[in-house]
C-alpha cells in the first residue's frame, strides 16, 4: 500500500507543508518522488518512505491530505474527500529533498514588497531596459551584482521599495528575460515576486546555516549562491556616452575693465537712524519732542550743518540704536515728512535712503575708495528726481537732542489739572493768569524762523501740549508747511481735553486755508464753546456753514429752518450759529429765538453737544433766564449721562483719522478688525450652510440671510451682503404677509446702516413700512417680532414698573421732578417701616434714574450716600436688597466713585453668603450694573470676591442660572482671568445647548452668552459662536401656533445677537476713540457747569 501527500498547486499547499515540516522535520531532507499529471504546475502526488501506518493517520488528523495511491499501468488513481481521481499517465520526478521538489505557489494580487531582486541575463533584452527605467524613475540607489546563471552571465539588481511597474513588467513580459524575486522569509530565500514557497521557513534556516542565498522562480528552478555576493552601485556598470563634438578653448592674456554705474535699487525695509533735515522739517519734530521721555530724548543727537552750496542750514538727526529698545524712526519720518537714511550693511558710515541698497554689490575696499568713506564722518547717498546726490559730512558737532529743548510753563487748565493729579507733592490752590492773546501772538511772530542752537537750560517745567503757529521757513513749500502745522494741531486736539479756544481757532484758520470748510466750521464752533466772547469766530463759522448748507443768509431762511420737520446737520449748525450771533447782538425776533432754544434743547437735534450748549447759553445769557439756563444744563447733562457723546456729531472726522493714525500698534485697526470680523462671518455662514440651515422658501433661512446681510453691511462689505439677500428679494412674494413686511424691514435696516442714517430717519422708515401693512392682524404679527428685535425696534423695550401705593407714588413722583429733594425723600422712604421692600427698591430705582437723567451730579451723589448706608438695615428681603445695590452701582458708575462701587459689591457678597440667597433674577439685575461698572473701572478691590461668591450660586440648577453664569464670565474677563472666563463661558454654552431647560431660560442664556462674547478678542469669538449657530434649532419658543408658523422668534433674535457678537460696531470704535469721547465728556461737563455758575451764581 502506497501513500502520498497530495500537492494541489494552490495556496492551501502552504498550510499542508507547514504542518508536515512541523510534524515530521526529519523527512524533509530524505529522497522524495513526485508523480505529476498532465499539468506540471497542477496537482501532484509526493511519495516518501516515511509515509506509512501511524504516520499517515497522524498526518491526516492534522489536516494533511495524505491519499492512498493505486498504480494502473502508466497511470495512478487515488481518492480524496470521497472523490476518486484517475491520472492515465504520470511523470515521475525524483529529488534528494522535499524542498527542491516543491514549486512556489501564487499568492494572488500584486503585493507591495520592501525589497526586490531582479535577475536578468546580460544578453537579454530586459537588461538594458530595466536599468534605463530605474534611472528614469530616479532609482539610482539600486545596487548590482554579477553572477553566473548556469553558464549565462547575469545581473542581479537589488532595489529597495521596488517600482510596482518593474515588478509587474518582470512577471508579465517573460520575453524580456527579467525575473523579479521578493524575500520569502527572514533573509536568505528569495521567491519569484507574487509567489510563496511552501517550505520557506525550513529552507531559509538551512540556507542561513550554510551562509547561502537561494532564488527560486515560479517554475521551481533553484539558483543557490554564496550569501556574501559582491555588489556595486548601479553607476559602476554603466558606460555613459555623449554624442557631442568637442571644441577646445585656451586662455588668452589681457585684462579688460568695465565701467558700471552704481545705482540705488530696492533693498530690505529697515528703520532709518539718520535724518538730514532742513529748518522747517526740524521744527516739525516739536510734537515728537513733547512726547518723549528724558531717556528717549537722550537717544537722539543733532548736528547743525552748512553746505558749500549755501542752501542750508541742515540738521543731522541721529537716533542711537540700542538693542531691544523700541525705535522711534517711524514717528520721526512721519513728523518731519521726509524719509530717513539707514546704514548700508558692511560699512560704518555710509547711509542710504530707507528701503534702498547700492547696486551692484561691490568689494568694500573699492566702495570705501569710491565714496571717500575713510575721510568722512558720514557719507549720505540720496536720490532726487532720479539723480544721485552724495553728501559728505567731514565732521559734526553732535549734541543730544535734549540740549535743543526749552521747557516753559503752560497755562492750559486741563493739562495742569492732570499734572497736579500725577504729582507726588501737595500743591496750594493755583490761579492761572492767561497771557493776553495779542501778546502771545506777537511773541510768536518774533520767533526765529529756524530753531536755535543749544542754549543753557534754566528750565522749570516741561512744555506740554502748547501748540503754536510756526512761521514758514524760506524755501519750504508753504502748503506742505501748512499741512504739517495742521497735522500737529490735529495730534494735539486728538489727545482730548483741549479746552483752549485759541487752539481750535488756529486749527479752524488753517483748515479754512486748505479748503476743508466743514472741518474748519467744526473747529470754530468748538472755539466758540470755550470762548464765547470771540464773536468773529461765530461769524466765520456761520459763513462756512451757510456755504455748506447752500443758504443765502436771509432772515426768511432762519424761520424756515427753525420750523422745519427735517433738518440736515449743516442747516442745524448754521441756524445755531445765527441764533448765537443774534443773541450776542441783542437783536432778533423773540419768537425765533424761543423756538430755536426749544429745538436745541432736544437731544435728538443733529448738532454737537458743544454747539447746542453754545446756543442755549447765548440765548439764556441774553435774557438772563436762570431757570432756562438750569433746565438747559440739566437737559444736556442728563442726555450725556443717558447716552454719552455721539461719535457722529461730537467726534470730528479729522480726530477719528488722527486717532487711527497715531501710534504703531493700532494702525489700520479698524480695517484689520473689519477684515477679521468678515472672515469670522464667512466662517459662520459656511457653518450655517453646512448645517443645513439655509434652504429655499424657508422663512428662517431668509431671516438668517438678512441677519448676515446686516452684518456684512456693517463691515462695509455691501456687495457680499447684496449677494446674500438676493434670494430673499426674489422669493419675497411667496412668503406670508407678516414675513414680507419683516423682510422688508431688515432690508431697510441694511440700507440704513449703509447710509449711516440717524435714529429719527429709522423711526420714519419703520413707521412708513408699518403703515403699509394690509391689515391689523398682519401688523400685530409684525410688531410681535419687531418690538423684540434689537435691530428693528425704534424704542427701548419697556418693562412694567411695580405699582407703589398712592402715597408713596406721590412722594416718589415729586422727588423725580425736584431732584434736589430726592435724597431726603429717599431717606424718609427707606426709614419708614410701613413701606414694603419691593416699594423701597422701586423708589431707589426711579430716583436714581431721574437723578442720572437730570445731570445733577450732586443730587446723585447724595442719593448714593443715602442708600449705601441704609441698604443692609432697611431692606430685609435679600432679593430687593441686591436689586437696590445694583441700581446704586449704576449711579456709582456714572459718578466714577470706585469706593462706593466696592462697598456695594461687598454688600451683594454679604447677602449671597447669608443663608437666604436671592433668586437668580434678582442677582442678574444686581450683577448687570456691576459688570457695566467693571467695564469702566477694570478690576476693583472687591470685584474678584464678588464674582467668586456668585459662581457657586450660579452653578446651582435652576431657572436663569445659565444666564447668570454667562454674565459672570465677562466679569472674569474684566479681571484679566481669561482661562476662568473661557471655562465658564464654554461650560455655560454646553449646558445651554444640551440641558433640559424652559424655552425662555435657554434663550436668555444664549443671549447672555452672545452678549458676553462681544467683549472677547475678535478671533476668539468664532468657536463659541459657531457652536451656538449649529445648535440654533434647540432654541424653540412657545408662542401661538400661528406665530410659530410665521417665524421662530427666539432663533431670529439670537441670530441677530450672533451677528452682533461677531461683527459688532463696538469693536470698530477703538479704545482711543472711546478714550477721546470720555475725555471730551469731562471737559464738556466742567464747562457747562462753569457757565451755569456764571449765570446762576450757584
Amino acid at each position: 500500500m502506497t501513500f502520498a501527500i497530495l500537492r494541489l498547486g494552490g495556496a492551501s499547499d502552504l498550510a499542508t507543508f507547514y504542518t508536515l515540516a512541523r510534524e515530521l522535520p526529519g523527512v524533509l531532507d530524505t529522497p522524495w518522488e513526485a508523480l505529476v499529471g498532465a499539468d506540471p504546475a497542477g496537482p501532484a502526488l509526493l511519495l516518501n518512505a516515511a509515509l506509512a501506518g501511524p504516520t499517515v493517520t497522524s498526518l491526516r488528523r492534522k489536516g494533511v491530505a495524505v491519499v492512498r495511491v493505486e498504480r494502473h499501468g502508466d497511470g495512478v488513481a487515488y481518492e480524496h474527500r470521497g472523490q476518486r481521481a484517475v491520472w492515465p499517465a504520470v511523470e515521475t520526478l525524483g529529488a534528494a529533498s522535499l524542498a527542491t521538489l516543491l514549486r512556489p505557489v501564487p499568492v494572488g494580487g500584486d503585493p507591495v514588497v520592501e525589497e526586490a531582486w531582479f535577475l536578468v541575463a546580460l544578453d537579454a533584452p530586459g537588461a538594458h531596459a530595466t536599468l534605463e527605467r530605474l534611472l528614469a524613475l530616479g532609482r539610482d540607489d539600486a545596487s548590482v551584482s554579477e553572477l553566473d546563471d548556469d553558464g549565462r552571465p547575469s545581473l542581479l539588481i537589488r532595489v529597495t521599495a521596488p517600482p510596482m511597474y518593474l515588478l509587474l513588467r518582470a512577471r508579465e513580459e517573460p520575453a524580456e528575460g527579467v525575473t523579479a524575486f521578493a524575500r520569502a522569509h527572514d533573509q536568505s530565500l528569495w521567491v519569484a515576486w507574487s509567489y510563496a514557497h511552501p517550505l520557506a521557513g525550513p529552507i531559509d534556516t538551512q540556507l542561513r546555516a550554510r551562509h547561502q542565498t537561494a532564488l527560486v522562480d515560479a517554475a521551481g528552478r533553484w539558483r543557490v549562491f554564496d550569501a556574501a555576493l559582491a555588489t556595486r552601485s548601479i553607476y559602476d556598470i554603466l558606460v555613459p556616452t555623449l554624442a557631442a563634438e568637442p571644441v577646445l578653448m585656451t586662455a588668452e592674456p589681457g585684462q579688460r575693465r568695465f565701467q558700471i554705474a552704481l545705482r540705488l535699487g530696492l533693498g530690505p525695509l529697515t528703520e532709518p537712524e539718520l535724518w538730514l533735515l532742513n529748518a522747517a522739517q526740524f521744527a516739525a519734530l516739536e510734537a515728537l519732542v513733547e512726547s518723549l521721555t528724558a531717556d528717549e530724548l537722550r537717544r537722539f543727537t543733532v548736528s547743525r550743518l552748512g553746505s558749500a552750496e549755501n542752501d542750508g542750514p541742515y540738521y543731522l538727526l541721529h537716533e542711537l540704536v540700542r538693542p531691544n529698545v523700541p525705535r522711534m524712526a517711524t514717528r520721526v519720518s512721519d513728523l518731519a515728512g521726509v524719509k530717513g537714511f539707514c546704514r548700508s550693511p558692511g560699512t560704518d558710515n555710509l547711509y542710504l535712503p530707507e528701503g534702498r541698497r547700492l547696486q551692484p554689490a561691490m568689494r568694500r575696499d573699492e566702495l570705501r575708495a569710491l565714496l571717500n568713506l575713510e575721510r568722512n564722518r558720514y557719507v549720505i547717498l540720496d536720490e532726487r528726481q532720479g539723480r544721485l546726490r552724495r553728501y559728505e559730512v567731514a565732521s559734526t558737532d553732535d549734541a543730544p537732542l535734549s540740549e535743543w529743548v526749552d521747557f516753559v510753563a503752560t497755562d492750559q487748565r486741563t493739562v495742569l489739572d492732570r499734572w497736579l493729579e500725577e504729582a507726588p507733592f501737595a500743591w496750594p490752590e493755583l490761579s492761572i493768569e492767561r497771557r493776553p492773546r495779542d501778546v502771545e501772538v506777537a511773541a510768536r511772530a518774533t520767533q526765529d524762523e529756524a530753531p536755535q542752537p543749544p542754549r543753557p537750560r534754566p528750565k522749570k517745567a516741561k512744555e506740554i501740549n502748547e501748540v503754536q503757529a510756526t512761521a514758514v521757513a524760506p524755501g519750504v513749500d508753504p502748503h506742505a508747511a501748512l499741512r504739517a502745522e495742521i497735522r500737529q494741531l490735529e495730534i494735539a486736539v486728538a489727545a482730548g481735553g483741549v479746552d483752549d479756544g485759541a487752539v481750535w481757532s488756529a486749527l479752524g484758520d488753517r483748515k479754512a486755508q486748505v479748503s476743508e470748510h466743514d472741518e474748519a466750521a467744526v473747529c470754530f464752533e468748538n472755539a466758540v464753546f470755550f470762548e464765547p466772547e470771540a464773536g468773529e469766530r461765530v461769524g466765520r463759522a456761520a459763513q462756512l456753514r451757510m456755504r455748506l448748507a447752500d443758504k443765502r443768509g436771509s432772515a426768511e431762511e432762519l424761520y424756515e429752518l427753525v420750523t422745519a420737520q427735517r433738518i440736515t446737520p449743516n442747516e442745524a449748525a448754521y441756524l445755531g450759529l445765527r441764533l448765537i450771533e443774534m443773541a450776542a447782538a441783542g437783536g432778533g425776533d423773540d419768537a425765533l429765538l424761543q423756538e430755536g432754544g426749544r429745538r436745541f434743547l432736544s437731544p435728538e437735534y443733529p448738532v454737537s453737544r458743544r454747539l447746542a450748549w453754545s446756543v442755549l447759553r447765548a440765548l439764556h445769557t441774553r435774557s438772563g433766564d436762570r431757570l432756562g439756563m438750569t433746565r438747559a444744563k440739566e437737559q444736556l447733562l442728563g442726555a450725556i449721562n443717558d447716552r454719552g457723546l455721539s461719535d457722529t456729531f461730537d467726534l470730528p472726522r479729522f480726530v477719528r483719522y488722527a486717532l487711527a493714525l497715531a501710534g504703531t500698534e493700532r494702525q489700520d485697526s479698524t480695517l484689520r478688525l473689519r477684515s477679521e470680523q468678515g472672515v469670522l462671518l464667512d466662517g459662520l455662514w459656511r457653518d450655517a450652510v453646512d448645517a443645513g440651515l439655509v434652504r429655499e422658501l424657508d422663512p428662517f433661512s431668509n431671516y438668517l440671510r438678512l441677519a448676515f446681510g446686516v452684518g456684512y453691511t456693517r463691515l462695509a462689505a455691501a456687495q457680499r451682503a447684496k449677494e446674500l439677500v438676493e434670494p430673499v428679494e426674489r422669493e419675497l412674494s411667496v412668503h406670508e404677509a407678516p414675513n414680507r413686511v419683516l423682510f422688508g424691514l431688515y432690508l431697510a435696516r441694511m440700507a440704513h446702516i449703509a447710509t449711516r442714517g440717524d435714529d429719527a430717519a429709522w423711526k420714519r422708515e419703520v413707521d412708513e413700512r408699518l403703515k403699509a401693512c394690509p391689515d391689523a392682524r398682519t401688523r400685530d404679527r409684525v410688531e410681535h417680532l419687531r418690538k423684540r428685535s434689537a435691530w428693528l425696534r425704534t424704542e427701548s423695550p419697556s418693562s412694567t414698573d411695580p405699582e407703589l401705593r398712592p402715597a408713596y407714588h406721590k412722594m416718589a413722583a415729586a422727588a423725580e421732578v425736584d431732584v434736589g429733594a430726592a435724597p431726603e425723600t429717599l431717606g424718609r422712604i427707606l426709614d419708614d417701616r410701613g413701606v414694603y421692600d419691593y416699594e423701597k427698591e422701586e423708589v431707589v430705582r426711579r430716583l436714581m434714574r431721574s437723578a442720572k437723567a437730570s445731570g445733577n451730579d450732586g443730587a446723585l451723589s447724595q442719593l448714593l450716600a443715602v442708600c449705601t448706608g441704609r441698604l443692609a438695615t432697611k431692606i430685609g428681603q435679600p432679593g430687593y436688597r441686591v436689586r437696590s445695590a445694583g441700581h446704586c452701582m449704576g449711579a456709582a458708575g456714572v459718578l466714577g466713585d470706585v469706593e462706593a462701587l466696592d462697598r456695594l459689591l461687598d454688600e451683594v457678597v454679604t447677602v449671597c453668603e447669608s443663608p437666604a440667597v436671592p433668586q437668580m433674577a434678582d442677582l442678574i439685575d444686581a450683577v448687570k450694573p456691576a459688570i457695566l461698572a467693571l467695564r469702566r473701572f477694570g478690576a476693583t478691590r472687591s470685584a474678584r470676591r464678588f464674582l467668586e461668591t456668585l459662581v457657586p450660586i450660579a452653578s446651582r440648577p435652576g431657572p436663569r442660572s445659565a444666564q447668570l453664569r454667562a454674565i459672570l464670565s465677562e466679569g472674569f474677563l474684566r479681571l484679566g482671568d481669561r482661562p476662568r472666563a473661557d471655562e465658564l463661558l464654554r461650560e455655560t454654552l454646553g449646558a445651554t445647548l444640551e440641558a433640559t431647560m424652559p424655552h425662555a431660560d435657554r434663550y436668555f442664556a444664549g443671549a447672555a452668552i452672545l452678549n458676553a462674547l462681544r467683549y472677547w478678542p475678535t478671533q476668539d469669538r468664532a468657536a463659541e459662536s459657531a457652536r451656538l449657530l449649529k445648535g440654533i434649532e434647540v432654541f424653540t419658543d412657545t408662542f401661538t401656533a400661528s406665530t410659530m408658523k410665521l417665524y421662530p422668534t427666539f432663533k431670529v433674535q439670537l441670530i441677530e445677537q450672533l451677528v452682533d457678537a461677531v461683527g459688532d460696531e463696538v469693536t470698530f470704535e477703538s479704545d482711543k476713540v472711546q478714550g477721546y469721547l470720555d475725555e471730551e465728556e469731562q471737559v464738556l461737563r466742567r464747562r457747562i457747569v462753569a457757565d451755569w455758575r456764571v449765570v446762576c451764581g450757584a
Binding site: L137, M164, D690, E723
Partner: protein, 328 residues
C-alpha cells in the same frame, strides 16, 4: 438618432474635421496644445474636464474660443463663477413664483445650466454643499429635478476650473467625476515674446469684434456624431471582451494595467472602478480620434492626467511620461 451604418460612411470625415478644428485652435494660444487636445477629447467623449491653475492661465479663454469655434449661440453656452454664496437657483434658474402659487415647484431654466449645451463653471470647488449635490446629479445622470420629476439636461460638454482642489472629503465625489484634470501653468517664463504677440492679437480681435477662430471647421453636431459612433462601436462586437480584443492589443492593455497599479500603489492615486471604466473609454476615444484605430502605447499618455489632488497632478504627469519613455 444616427445608426452605426450611417455614421460609418462619414466618420472618417468627422474625425478629420475635429482634428483640424483642434489644430486650428492651437494657432490662437501659446503652448496650450495639451489643454486643447484634452478639451477636444473630453468634448468628443462628453466627459467633464477640470482645468487646475492660477488665474490668468487662459482657462476661460480656451473654453470660450472652443465654444465659439463650434458656432454655438449665446443661449447654448453657460458660464458662471461659483462662490460659497451661490445657490441652486442661480445655476438652475429661479422658482417660477406664479406656478408656485399653484403648488408647483418649477424652475425657470432659460439661460441657465439645464438649457445650455456647453458649460464652464469657474471656481467649482468653492461652491457650497447644495450646489455640489446639484452638480453631481447633473454630471452623473444628466438630469435635474423639476417639480419633483427628473428632467434631462441639454448639457453635453462640461468644463470647470479651479485654483486648487481642496482636500475635503465632501468634495471627493465631485472631484472623482472629473476623470481628467489638467494643470494649466503660466507660459510667460518660457514663451515671453510669443505670449505678448498672441495676447496683443487677441486684444485686437476683441476690439474689432473679430472671431477668426470661428471658421466652422467642425460643428457641435460633429462631436455628437463622433460620440454616438464610439458608443455604438463599443458594443458592436457583440461579446463581453470583444471590444478589448479588437481595439486594445494585449501588450498595451498590460501596460495600461501596470501604470494604473503603479500609480495606485506608489503615488496613492485613487482610481475608482468607475474611473477605470471611463478611462478605458477615453483611451479608446483618443485612439480613434487621433489615429483612427486600435489603442497604441502612445495613447496611454492620457494617464498623465488622472491625478486627483493638486499635488498629484505634476507628479503623475511626470511619472507616466517616464514609464512610457516619453522625453517631454
Amino acid at each position: 438618432m444616427w445608426s452605426l451604418k450611417e455614421l460609418e460612411r462619414e466618420i472618417d470625415d468627422i474625425r478629420a474635421r475635429i482634428n483640424r478644428h483642434r489644430r486650428d485652435l492651437e494657432e490662437y494660444f501659446v503652448k496650450r496644445a495639451d489643454e486643447l487636445e484634452l478639451a477636444t477629447l473630453s468634448a468628443a467623449a462628453q466627459e467633464p474636464l477640470l482645468f487646475v491653475g492660477p488665474p490668468g492661465t487662459a482657462k476661460s479663454d480656451l473654453v470660450v474660443k472652443f465654444v465659439e469655434s463650434l458656432g454655438l449661440g449665446d443661449t447654448d453656452y453657460y458660464e458662471y463663477m461659483l462662490t460659497k454664496f451661490t445657490e441652486p437657483s442661480e445655476i438652475l434658474g429661479p422658482i417660477d413664483i406664479d406656478l408656485l402659487k399653484q403648488g408647483r415647484f418649477v424652475r425657470r431654466t432659460a439661460g441657465k445650466l439645464p438649457n445650455a449645451k456647453v458649460a464652464f463653471l469657474d471656481e467649482i470647488f468653492k461652491s457650497n454643499s447644495a450646489i455640489l449635490n446639484t452638480l453631481l446629479t447633473i454630471v452623473n445622470e444628466r438630469k435635474y429635478y423639476q417639480d419633483g420629476a427628473p428632467e434631462p439636461v441639454a448639457l453635453r460638454f462640461l468644463f470647470a476650473a479651479t485654483n486648487d482642489i481642496p482636500e475635503q472629503t465632501e468634495l471627493d465625489a465631485l472631484a472623482d467625476r472629473f476623470i481628467l484634470k489638467i494643470e494649466t501653468r503660466p507660459v510667460k517664463d518660457t514663451h515671453f515674446a510669443e505670449l505678448i504677440d498672441a495676447g496683443v492679437m487677441n486684444e485686437v480681435y476683441k476690439a474689432t469684434g473679430q472671431k477668426p477662430w470661428a471658421r466652422g471647421t467642425a460643428s457641435f453636431e460633429d462631436f455628437l456624431k463622433f460620440k454616438r459612433y464610439i458608443d455604438l462601436s463599443l458594443g458592436a462586437s457583440g461579446s463581453l471582451s470583444g471590444d478589448r480584443e479588437q481595439w486594445f492589443p494585449p501588450a498595451v492593455f498590460a501596460e495600461f494595467r501596470r501604470i494604473v497599479r503603479a500609480l495606485e500603489t506608489e503615488d496613492k492615486v485613487m482610481v475608482s472602478d468607475r474611473k477605470l471604466v471611463k478611462l478605458y473609454k477615453l483611451l479608446r476615444t483618443r485612439a480613434f480620434l487621433l489615429h483612427g484605430g486600435a489603442v497604441q502605447q502612445s495613447d496611454l499618455a492620457l494617464l498623465a492626467y488622472v491625478g486627483n489632488r493638486r499635488h498629484e497632478l505634476g507628479a503623475v504627469q511626470d511619472k507616466v511620461r517616464k514609464l512610457l519613455g516619453l522625453t517631454s
